[in-house]
């Protein structure tokens, strides 16, 4: 082989390894965490394994099962790493012995089912309710999605060092408190799955509600959340996992229509429906049907069903508000909250007229609930406006403005206010 051939070969192997890294690295990591029992050790093993792959695959060719090769290499690299440290510390030799013994046993990780389980174990460990909500999100992005600490820090507008701290602290708690690497038992599954879905939805909203401009990274969070949702449905097709994925897909289907080029909000009723992503809508609707067929109706599926009615309406005027109110009624029974009640009030206003909705909004306000929630005042303002009560609307828009934090929302409220005052 001349030097030209050799360098071409090296380039080919490098791009093959890169593709395999993108496709397999998270799975390999999840399995290494199970085999080695430590996040840091597994990550180190993963990187060493890929470094070894670059070298060895260039010489010997790419193995028939790269994933199995990488898991095996990662494990032996990790054992090597501990052995080096054990020279300085006798207590590590016992660990090396255990790991070697285990490595010699039948290599069950070659079965795809086990590897799928490893990814699920990793998700449940990263989203364990014994970790703080912030830590769960950060750890999931880092370990399950494979984002770098810098990327996560940028998306959450915190310093890299602070984010690194958060992740290290979470990993220490996992290790020191004995949070296990397992998919929870059947009786604990609903509650634990809830915690996982919460993390995924938090992630999605973080990206979805991001304003324009410097928020490209944050929009990526929505894409990561959808990918996670797909992974969950694939690994654990529970009705609410399907419901959440449907909800995210349906919201995301409006991405191109929900804001102007310069980031101004376009309300649902004013959106160009031809810009909605029909493929995502169809996927979402199919998931809702699968979830409903299980007859275990949960809040994510119900919310998705509500969004689907909007998605399938040919125009804002043709929206089936009775159906939407009916779904909110069920949602109020399954997962009552003042926010759901507010949304229901708005739907009632659309079905029966603004004065009917206003009574309900006022009732929420009188109970002192949602006092800091800008959308309560925005909803009230809109109802007053539609009833021709200009001073009531102006007052409520001002209250909403006092509480809204997102710039595009503030500009929208300001526009409405100027229209009324002008």
């Amino acid at each position: 082989m001349n030097s030209n051939d050799r360098s071409r070969r090296t380039a080919e192997v490098r791009s093959a390894v890169e593709a395999i890294y993108r496709r397999e690295s998270r799975r390999v990591l999840a399995t290494l965490i199970r085999l080695l029992g430590d996040f840091e050790l597994a990550e180190e093993g993963l990187h060493d394994a890929f470094a070894a792959a670059l070298e060895q695959w260039g010489r010997d060719g790419i193995p028939s099962n790269p994933r199995a090769w990488l898991v095996s290499a990662g494990r032996f690299k990790a054992i090597d790493n501990i052995r080096k440290r054990s020279r300085f510390q006798a207590s590590l030799s016992e660990l090396v012995r255990q790991l070697e013994e285990q490595a010699g046993e039948c290599e069950q990780w070659e079965y795809d089912d086990d590897i799928a389980d490893d990814r699920l174990r990793l998700i449940f460990t990263c989203c364990h309710p014994a970790l703080s909500a912030d830590a769960r999100v950060a750890l999931t992005l880092r370990e399950v999605c494979g984002l770098t600490t810098e990327e996560i820090a940028r998306a959450y507008l915190v310093k890299t060092s602070a984010m690194a701290q958060r992740i290290v602290r979470a990993k220490s708690k996992i290790r020191d408190a004995g949070i296990p690497y397992e998919v929870p038992a059947a009786q604990e599954l609903p509650a634990r799955l809830d915690a996982v879905l919460q993390v995924v939805y938090l992630l999605f909203n973080e990206g979805y509600s991001a304003s324009s401009g410097a928020s490209v990274l944050r929009r990526d969070l929505s894409a990561e959340a959808i990918r996670l949702g797909e992974l969950l449905v694939q690994l654990l097709p529970e009705p609410e996992a399907m419901g959440l994925l449907a909800l995210m897909l349906l919201h995301d289907s409006r991405r191109a229509a929900r804001a102007t080029e310069d980031g101004e909000i376009i309300l649902l009723e004013d959106q160009d429906r031809s810009l909605w992503n029909r493929e995502q809508i169809a996927l979402g609707v199919e998931l809702i049907q699968r979830s409903l067929a299980t007859r275990q109706v949960g809040p994510y599926t119900l919310q998705a069903a509500i969004v689907a009615i909007h998605a399938e309406a040919p125009s804002a005027e043709e929206t089936d508000w009775s159906e939407i109110v009916g779904l909110y009624d069920v949602l109020m029974r399954v997962a009552p909250s003042p926010v759901v009640e507010l949304n229901r009030a708005v739907a009632v206003a659309m079905r029966d007229g603004p004065e009917h909705g206003l009574v309900m909004v006022d009732a929420i306000q009188q109970r002192g609930e949602l006092a800091d929630y800008h959308l309560l005042y925005a909803a009230r303002a809109d109802l007053c406006r539609r009833m021709g009560d200009v001073s009531g609307a102006v007052h409520a828009y001002r209250q909403a403005l006092d509480r809204a934090l997102q710039e595009p929302e503030r500009r929208f409220l300001q526009r409405r206010l100027s229209e009324l005052e002008g």
């Binding site: 590590l92 004995g178 949070i179």
Partner: protein, 137 residues
Amino acid sequence: MGWSPAMAGKQWPFPGDITEADMKYLCLIYSDEKRMNTMDPDELQALGDECEVYCQQLMDSGVCLAVQALESVSTATTVRIRNGKMTLTDGPFAETKEQLGGFYLIEASDLNEALRIASGIPPARIGSVEVRPLLDS
């Protein structure tokens, strides 16, 4: 690098197929003494009986190493040595809404199992149970 020597002795989360050595956890039981004192005596008695049954159950299954209820926090004395001088203070080290009233020392394979055991401790329904792994267990 998050590797720490402390890990060598620990079993997390080495799956069951490597070793089965358990971890030890201390479950600290906190409740509002004032509220407990105003509870209906029958109700309080029933709670006490329930605790006894649960303790016995845990003892019999071997997961419980020690259980102890404490006298009221009003009997507490706090000791501090500063600059070689001892000072004593009446009462607990800090005034809190809920006070330490007892503990269970348990063995469990991991946090999930420890939490399952802790969630069965009857006062968890009234106060709070803090679950803490023992260092070097």
